[in-house]
């Protein structure tokens, strides 16, 4: 039996193309699914737009010649003013979205507040993810007393409404004149507080995954090669659990932005004069008669941001679900 070399090459090439069609990796399939998921893509676009706007705050501030900190009692409670759309009528066109109770520009203030709220949510989520992964891998890998202890801590933390814990910790740290100075003053403290309380869910997730991974052959072979437990945990296990937790990151950020907003609304989160979407609503009840937009706008921005994050979180989960079919 003879076959020409070119025919063999052709059939091999054919095989290869078939191969690439069949063996799409999980990530490739997820990405191709995501690119067809219009809702998730829209949410992503809105979120990117909001983030870019927030970080362009200084540009808008200088272009409109307004200030987000300077108070001006004579111009307080100015209405929304967009002359091009005939909104507002005879008003100051510098203050597009009007001014607040102290005469500060609401538009620029919302943008700066966005920087604060978005960064707190993002970095707190990263911190709680780091703690959650570390504790989850360690408890899952070692088991025994460490596992029991961490489980006890988680049960204990979960037995008190998180809001009360958050309240106690923030009240203590943020109202303590010695601690609230320096790096603990302002948003940084809130990142630490939210991060330190948000890890329990991730830990449970990672612990369960670690329990199954540590029995696999490649862990056994790593052990046989003399790898230290630390190396096995952080070089062999962590990369394998990473994909599961990275998916919940978006929803985590959303939840943390909500928590920050609630704390700041109650007056113990981000401190004025630093604006955050939550603390712009602290005195909302007194604005009911003077300026309803002061109540509506900050909340609407929290809502849109968190909604986008939740939609992206859902979209990622569906896209990475190995059991779903195209």
């Amino acid at each position: 039996m003879t076959t020409s070399p070119s025919a063999t090459a052709q059939s091999i090439a054919q095989l290869n193309t078939e191969e690439t069609i069949v063996s799409k990796s999980l990530t490739q399939r997820a990405l191709s699914r995501l690119s067809r998921d219009k809702l998730t893509l829209t949410a992503l676009a809105v979120l990117i737009f909001l983030t870019v706007m927030a970080f362009l705050a200084p540009v808008f501030e200088s272009a409109l010649e307004v200030s987000y900190t300077k108070t001006n009692i004579r111009e307080k409670f100015a209405p929304i003013c967009i002359p091009a759309l005939n909104v507002g009528g005879d008003c100051n066109p510098k203050h597009i979205l009007g001014t607040d109770d102290l005469g500060r520009d609401v538009f620029v203030r919302l943008l700066y507040a966005g920087q604060v709220s978005l960064s707190i949510g993002f970095f707190a989520a990263i911190l709680s993810l780091a703690i959650g992964i570390t504790l989850g891998v360690v408890t899952g890998f070692y088991g025994g007393v460490i596992d029991d202890f961490i489980n006890w801590v988680i049960t204990t933390l979960n037995s008190v409404p998180t809001l009360f814990l958050l309240l106690i910790i923030s009240a203590v740290i943020l109202r303590n004149p010695d601690l609230a100075r320096g790096i603990f003053g302002g948003p940084f403290a809130l990142i630490i507080i939210l991060g330190l309380l948000g890890w329990t869910g991730t830990t449970r997730l990672v612990r369960g995954e670690t329990l199954s991974i540590r029995e696999r052959e490649y862990i056994l072979s790593a052990r046989a090669l003399g790898a230290s437990p630390t190396r096995i945990m952080f070089v062999h296990i962590v990369p394998n659990v990473f994909s599961i937790v990275i998916i919940v990151l978006a929803s985590d950020i959303g939840g943390l932005i909500l928590a920050e907003a609630a704390l700041s609304f109650l007056g113990i989160g981000v401190k004025v004069p630093t604006p955050s979407w939550g603390n712009m609503l602290t005195d909302a009840q007194t604005y009911f008669t003077m300026g309803l937009h002061l109540v509506i706008l900050p909340g609407l921005l929290i809502f849109i941001t968190v909604l986008c994050l939740f939609i992206i979180g859902d979209g990622l989960r569906d896209a990475f679900d190995p059991t779903s079919t195209d």
């Binding site: 203590v172 109540v295 909340g299 809502f303």
Partner: protein
């Protein structure tokens, strides 16, 4: 079963102890703390601060303060001849402030013996303050739980039956939306709509903007006369529950819908309604029991903010105010009560789970 309940209750003791230690430790990091809040003013002299702190026992080491809160101090320093001056001491020094006169003996019996102390700010017994507030929180909590179940479960069932149709997609989107709305802001917006913008026939607000009863009423009118006060806070608090219950029920119903007995029921010629509700929903309800525990914690946490927004005179509002004023005795009582409620909630949902599903055994 009884052995299982007893074991679970025993297991919750270290959890509760852990919670009290954790909260006490956290609060102890606030220097000056309640004394500074109490005597805030430009004319307060340092000696005054020191004296109040000594009277409240805030100068003692943290472990002693914690022990005093937990077990009382009548056994720490005692007065055997009854002249009001301590003559024996176990842990605390006889003359703590060093003025040459021994301190009066300890009087408090501690949390475990039912002495919850006095509020630093209100100067009233904590158990009295808490007892006044519990009915309001229970009222709001029970109302919201009922609304969440009554609205959430049917939505979940119908969404599962009509999977992929408009109703299913709409309710799923609504659930995400309700999860993403900040609770306090939803409250504010509803107050604006129903309290500021909409008017009733007399030109007053369409629904009350806050509170639990008309300000003019003497005492507390029966609940049916103040339902209008309950509508907005109940709805705000129930949104999370409705979203949670409906999604959980949908998932549970989808698991059930493809079971053989469902096909059998249909093959017998039963109509859709009987198949869905008699055969489907009743079985799909079983896992819902596990969702009750977490939803109680969620209600308690959410209630605090909702109570604050609507000036609802409940436990959560007292808790928030106590935290802001660093009123230790009240904070501790609120934390312990909410922890007990949560632990009991989880236990209850596990017991319920076993009662409705005979396949589950606790041994």
């Amino acid at each position: 079963m009884i052995r299982y309940i007893a074991r679970r209750l025993l297991q919750s003791i270290p959890t509760l102890l852990g919670i009290t230690i954790l909260s006490y430790l956290l609060m102890s990091f606030a220097p000056g703390g309640p004394v500074r809040a109490l005597l805030f003013g430009p004319n307060t002299r340092p000696e005054q601060l020191a004296r109040v702190a000594a009277v409240l026992g805030l100068n003692d080491p943290i472990p002693i303060q914690y022990l005093r809160w937990l077990l009382g101090d009548d056994w720490m320093r005692w007065d055997s001849d009854g002249d009001g001056i301590a003559d024996g001491s176990f842990i605390l020094p006889l003359d703590a402030d060093g003025d040459g006169i021994p301190e009066p003996p300890g009087m408090s019996k501690g949390f475990l013996r039912g002495d919850w102390g006095k509020s630093f700010i209100q100067r009233r017994p904590v158990d009295l303050i808490i007892a006044e507030r519990i009915p309001a929180t229970l009222e709001l909590g029970v109302a919201s739980l009922l609304v969440s179940i009554v609205v959430g479960l049917p939505i979940g069932i119908y969404a599962a039956v009509k999977r992929g149709r408009i109703f299913d997609n709409t309710t799923r989107v609504l659930a995400v939306i309700f999860n993403a709305v900040p609770v306090f802001w939803l409250g504010l917006v509803l107050i604006i709509i129903f309290g500021v913008l909409l008017k009733d026939a007399n030109g007053g607000p369409f629904l009350p903007m806050g509170g639990r009863r008309p300000p003019t009423s003497v005492g507390l009118p029966p609940i049916w006369e103040r339902l209008n006060y309950l509508i907005l806070p109940t709805f705000v608090l129930a949104t999370g529950g409705i979203a949670g219950f409906s999604r959980f029920m949908r998932a549970s119903m989808l698991d059930v819908i493809n079971q053989d007995y469902m096909r059998t029921a249909r093959a017998k010629g039963l109509d859709n309604r009987t198949v869905w509700f008699r055969h489907g929903a009743r079985n799909a309800l079983i896992p819902i029991a596990t969702f009750l525990g977490p939803s109680i914690t969620g209600l308690l946490g959410g209630a605090a903010i909702t109570e604050k927004v609507f000036s609802w005179p409940g436990l959560g509002q007292v808790g928030i105010d106590a935290v802001l004023q660093l009123d230790y005795p009240i904070i501790m009582a609120v934390v312990v009560i909410s922890a007990i409620a949560t632990i009991l909630g989880y236990l209850l949902s596990d017991i319920l789970y076993a009662l409705i599903d005979p396949r589950i055994r606790f041994d």
